[in-house]
């Protein structure tokens, strides 16, 4: 009975409101300017083929008719390869796979080559200076499928997006407008595989940061504190055959060889379709990485925000949209308002069903205070009357 009374009077709800931080609804006009393009943007991928293509055919697709220019046209395959690494074109469409370690529970094992693995991740990507888009897809022909099975990381200038299907994270898409904020860093870290493919297997290297001196190269910008340099070896047929790479850091020199393969038939682009990375230790080669490029479409003109914004994917996947600032997370409500849902590491608890509104809270407290005041007055008056009665009796007795 007491509990029913408790619930009826809503004091339980009030107690929670007093003891927990309430969610706060915020309207950030400036932020709406950022949200607006997200809500109207549509991803312009309608023209892409969803048919799996052999790598050779895909590379032929690299010609963008609108730009009337084929990457590598008029130069040798070796020069095309070098140019792609030092000054890559805008990549409008890229489909590739990554071969995962054969023992996912123990990826560090040195006794297994990645060539023994039968597990792959497939990605759809776009890239241009200052922008990228990368997401997991189910297969090489799944670019048109909005379902994202793993990670989505994207960036366009100062805007960053990140989604991960891991557990609770699968419910929402995060975005941020802080150029060096933690979400931007998260997206950058999770797009490492795109950098590795765009640098044809080099690790820890920023795209477009390779400089050549003949067939020797060095990396100007490493994602880590490393010096990276190496040598290109052409094949007898005039195609890039391999890169010998040395990574120099606090651990000393680490040596790798990256070997390239091409699709069947004539290929003049010099862009490989298969990239295999071998770690060289004590003269022994152990294959540790493998990427296959299934489709690569380049262009000269830059792409707009709509090519990198995952707004359409968020809508079709019904992801909540969370705006991440330096130390807080806000949910984007359908009204366009933002609601604070978390300060970093400290959840802001949502209002629960049946919880009192501030008006109800004030009303109940007013009634409660009035009742207390009424009882106090009654007691005071009763005591006063009793005292007066006793005084009268005493006077009468006297």
């Amino acid at each position: 009975m007491l509990k029913r009374l408790w619930e009826r009077t809503k004091v339980g709800s009030m107690w929670m409101m007093l003891t927990n931080k309430r969610s706060a609804e915020l309207t950030l006009t400036a932020f709406a300017m950022f949200v607006a393009p997200l809500t109207v943007a549509a991803l312009s991928d309608g023209g892409y083929s969803t048919t799996p293509l052999p790598a050779k055919e895909s590379l032929r697709e690299a010609t963008d008719g609108a730009t009337a220019e084929t990457f590598g046209e008029g130069i040798s395959p070796i020069d095309s390869f070098k140019t792609f690494l030092s000054s890559p074109p805008v990549v409008e469409h890229l489909i590739f796979s990554e071969r995962l370690p054969p023992d996912p529970e123990k990826p560090w094992r040195y006794d297994l080559s990645v060539s023994e693995s039968r597990v792959y991740r497939y990605y759809e990507a776009r890239w241009q200076p200052g922008a990228y888009f990368l997401r997991d897809i189910a297969a090489t022909d799944s670019a048109g499928d909005p379902r994202t099975l793993g990670v989505l990381a994207a960036r366009f200038d100062n805007h960053s997006w990140f989604h991960d299907s891991f557990g609770y994270r699968g419910r929402f898409l995060q975005f941020s407008a802080e150029p060096d904020g933690r979400l931007c860093q998260t997206a950058d870290l999770n797009s490492d595989v795109l950098r590795q493919v765009m640098t044809f297997g080099l690790m820890h290297s920023y795209i477009g940061s390779i400089r050549w001196n003949g067939n020797s190269f060095r990396v100007l910008a490493s994602t880590l504190d490393l010096e990276i340099a190496g040598e290109l070896t052409p094949s007898l047929s005039g195609l890039p055959d391999s890169l010998s790479v040395t990574y120099t850091g606090s651990q000393g020199d680490i040596h790798w060889i990256i070997r390239y393969a091409y699709g069947a038939g004539e290929d003049t682009t010099g862009l490989p379709s298969t990239i295999r990375g071998f770690w060289v230790s004590d003269g022994q080669e152990l294959q540790r990485t493998e990427f296959v490029i299934y489709a690569l479409k380049t262009r000269t003109a830059k792409l707009g925000l709509e090519a990198f914004s995952p707004a359409r994917l968020a809508a079709t996947n019904s992801w909540e949209q969370h705006f991440v600032s330096s130390n807080a997370v806000y949910a984007l409500l359908p009204s366009g308002k933002l609601r604070l849902i978390e300060r970093l590491g400290k959840p802001v608890l949502d209002k629960l069903p049946g919880q009192a509104t501030p008006t109800q809270l004030a009303a109940v407290y007013a009634v409660w205070a009035a009742a207390n005041a009424f009882i106090f007055i009654l007691v005071a008056r009763m005591r006063g009357k009793r005292k007066h009665k006793l005084e009268v009796q005493n006077t009468t007795n006297v």
Binding site: L2, K3, L5, W6, E7, V11, G12, S13, W15, M16, N20, P101, P107, W108, Y110, F162, D164, F166, G167, Y168, R169, R182, Q185, T186, L189, N190, D192, M203, H204, L224, L226, Y247, G249, Q251, I254, W256, W279, S281, L286, R288, T289, V329, E342, L344, G345, K346, P347, L349, L352, P353, G354, Q355
Partner: protein, 120 residues
């Protein structure tokens, strides 16, 4: 000889209130960032070197909160926290970036709904 002692109204009210609070206290679970991006969460050691694995994104965990409002289907009855996500480390021999899934804390245990404290 028996004596009758009358409880004062204010004492009765206090006792009733305490019983009401105790009877209405329940628990519910909520997610939050339990390990922010780029936090050290574990070590991967070989015979001659160790690498520190850092989170590749904010890890979300579940924790327990108390309230005096019962909300069907959301109450929990144990105070465990489970925090999991992906981490990355640099292999100290090959220099390769590796990815592993990890967790901090004990597996989350759902509430015992038969608990009288949390029954509707």
């Amino acid at each position: 000889m028996t004596t009758k002692k009358q409880l004062k109204p204010i004492v009765c009210g206090l006792v009733a209130g305490l019983i009401g609070v105790a009877n209405a206290t329940c628990y519910w679970e909520s997610s939050y960032v339990c390990e922010p991006y780029n936090t050290d969460v574990m070590s991967v050691c070989y015979s001659d070197c160790c690498a520190t694995a850092k989170t590749t994104s904010d890890w979300y965990g579940w924790t327990l909160y108390q309230s005096d409002t019962y909300v069907p289907g959301t109450n929990t009855g144990t105070k465990s926290v489970y925090c999991s996500g992906q981490a990355t480390y640099l292999d100290c021999h090959s220099g390769q970036r590796m990815y592993i899934n990890g967790s901090v804390g004990s597996p989350f245990t759902k509430v015992d709904y038969s608990s009288p404290l949390c029954s509707p």
